[in-house]
């Protein structure tokens, strides 16, 4: 009788040890999963940052708006007449705007003149009308090219200073 009880106690001890062991393993696993989830969120954030850079870069190199002279492009330079044409085209219909969605994703793109007329700005693309949780803003200094100048006042074609503001939402 005493022997049977002793064996039962030893069994219970072993089961208790196993139970505690598994509890510790589960705690360890939960802790590890939390760290992994945090790392994943960080990685997701990095991917979104990279995507924002991609959008800014893609827009900067759009052949539709780049300054060219005999088809030689000037980097980081937008032709004002082309910008206005693109703004008009995208603004005409949702269908036209959607043609740029694959390239510009959910973002807003504004080109601002800094000098000589700081008030001038062109909102080229705006897809911010949804409940976004994160916004990544990028600003790039650019040149703006006035291809005609103002011949009536003797002003030749000229370059202005400007900034490209890209905000990518997610």
């Amino acid at each position: 009788m005493i022997m049977k009880r002793k064996a039962q106690i030893r069994m219970s001890e072993s089961i208790a040890i196993l139970f505690v062991f598994f509890i510790l393993v589960v705690f360890g696993f939960i802790f590890y999963s939390k760290i992994e989830a945090r790392n994943f969120e960080l990685q997701k954030g990095q991917v979104q940052d990279l995507r924002a850079v991609e959008v800014a870069q893609t827009f900067s190199f759009l052949p539709e708006i780049q300054c060219t002279k005999e088809n030689v492009a000037t980097s980081n330079c937008f032709d004002i007449m082309k910008l206005e044409a693109l703004q008009e085209y995208i603004g005409e219909s949702l269908q036209n705007e959607d043609k740029y969605y694959d390239k510009l994703l959910r973002s807003s793109i504004v080109v601002k003149e800094i000098y000589p007329s700081p008030g001038n700005s062109w909102t080229i693309y705006n897809k911010s009308n949804f409940a976004w949780t994160r916004k990544i803003a990028t600003q790039i200094p650019i040149s703006l090219f006035n291809a005609t100048g103002d011949p009536s006042s003797g002003e030749p074609s000229r370059y202005y200073f400007g900034a490209l503001e890209v905000e990518v939402y997610s």
């Binding site: 598994f22 991609e54 870069q57 539709e64 060219t68 043609k99 291809a147 005609t148 009536s152």
Partner: protein, 372 residues
């Protein structure tokens, strides 16, 4: 009696240890397997994100070859874009590549070229692996012109037509034959090629051929005009004539390179379609800009129709003509797989007809704002 109880207890202890040990082992095996999958997915997501950024940046630098190191993984490419492992594909618009990319040296070759017609339309990007062999049939016309446009880092072999049967596979996971033909000259087609048994044994999907048919040669490079391409895939020990490949149009050497680096007809179709859609968008902007220039400079007898800069550009009529020409492009572009000769002629012309390049030169001579 006492010793019998002890034996049972001992046996029970061993069974208990066995069951508990197996449970613990299974638990850890499951965790390790799950972690392995998670790590692989994480690695693929990481590669995908970085690759997408690298390729986007490289696409903007035309004329420069980039050799990038990739982890030991296979990148797949189709109409929906590039995908690594089980990750969602990412799109790079006008980017041409074979359907599978891998490299024993873990290198990828990337470069881009500016596609203009006559104004810049897009940067066409090409991605390939040094482990893919490009075999140029040396009797092909314009082989020297092809050498000029192919980058040096890719694996190219020049082989005479009758020597193809002696060309062995040298552990390349893909082989692509290139034949260039021109009207009026003796022509070979991939169907006439006899393959070496080591190549015949390769998977059909991994051996392909392209036949380039030049319709109008370019001025500096024969391949810089326009023409058609036919894409073949191996069927057993030779290239099959059935089903007969459909001729696809190309305009200029940049698009032709796209056809050379796309081993599948459907990927060339959808990437070139995307390139022509971009052409339509760019043309739309150029048409509006040219129309706006006409409105600014038009010099009409009726003062109500005179532009604010009337009298400052004698050739203002060119803007109107150019606007009409660009408008006409949309008609040709609608027929995506049709003959692209009209587009080429609108851009560069052949003969006496007006074309956009000539108009731009006229405007430059007269110090007027240029079309492009």
């Amino acid at each position: 009696m006492h010793s019998k109880k002890g034996v049972i207890e001992l046996q029970f202890n061993w069974i208990f240890i066995l069951v508990a040990g197996a449970l613990i082992l299974i638990f850890f095996v499951v965790i390790v397997q799950r972690q392995e999958k998670v790590s692989e997915n994480k690695r693929d997501v990481d590669i995908r994100g970085k690759l997408s950024t690298i390729l986007t940046s490289a696409k903007q630098s035309t004329g420069t070859m980039f050799v990038i190191k990739i982890p030991d993984t296979e990148i797949k490419f189709d109409c929906s874009g590039y995908s690594v492992g089980g990750t969602a594909p990412f799109q790079l618009d006008e980017s041409f590549s074979p359907s599978r990319l891998k490299s024993s040296q873990q290198n990828l070759l990337i470069w881009a070229m500016d596609w203009s017609l006559p104004y810049k339309v897009a940067n066409l990007q090409y991605i390939t692996s040094p482990d893919i062999k490009y075999v140029v049939i040396a009797e092909s016309q314009a082989v020297n012109d092809l050498k000029k446009i192919l980058p040096q880092n890719i694996t190219v072999a020049m082989v005479q037509h009758d020597q193809v049967q002696n060309l062995e596979s040298t552990n390349n996971y893909m082989i692509r034959f290139i034949i260039i033909t021109r009207e009026g000259l003796p022509t070979y087609t991939p169907v006439t090629l006899t393959l070496h048994p080591s190549i015949s044994r390769m998977k059909d999907d991994d051996v392909s051929a392209i036949q380039i048919m030049i319709d109008e040669p370019g001025t500096d490079n024969e391949l810089d005009g326009h023409g058609r391409v036919a894409l073949f895939r191996k069927g057993g020990s030779s290239f099959s004539a059935t089903p007969s490949p459909v001729n696809k149009p190309y305009i200029k050497k940049e698009l032709l390179l796209g056809a050379i680096f796309s081993d599948r007809e459907e990927t060339y179709d959808c990437v070139s379609k995307r390139a022509f859609e971009q052409y339509a968008l760019t043309s739309e902007i150029y048409q509006r800009r040219t129309g706006a220039l006409f409105d600014l400079y038009q010099d009409n007898v009726d003062p109500m129709n005179r532009g604010p800069y009337a009298g400052f550009c004698d050739s203002f009529v060119i803007y109107s003509q150019a606007s009409d020409l660009i408008d006409g492009l949309n008609v040709f572009l609608d027929n995506i797989l049709g003959n692209k000769q009209d587009i080429y002629n609108t851009a560069y012309g052949s003969g006496i007809g007006e074309n956009l390049r000539k108009m731009n030169k006229d405007l430059l001579r007269r110090s007027c704002p240029l079309i492009y």
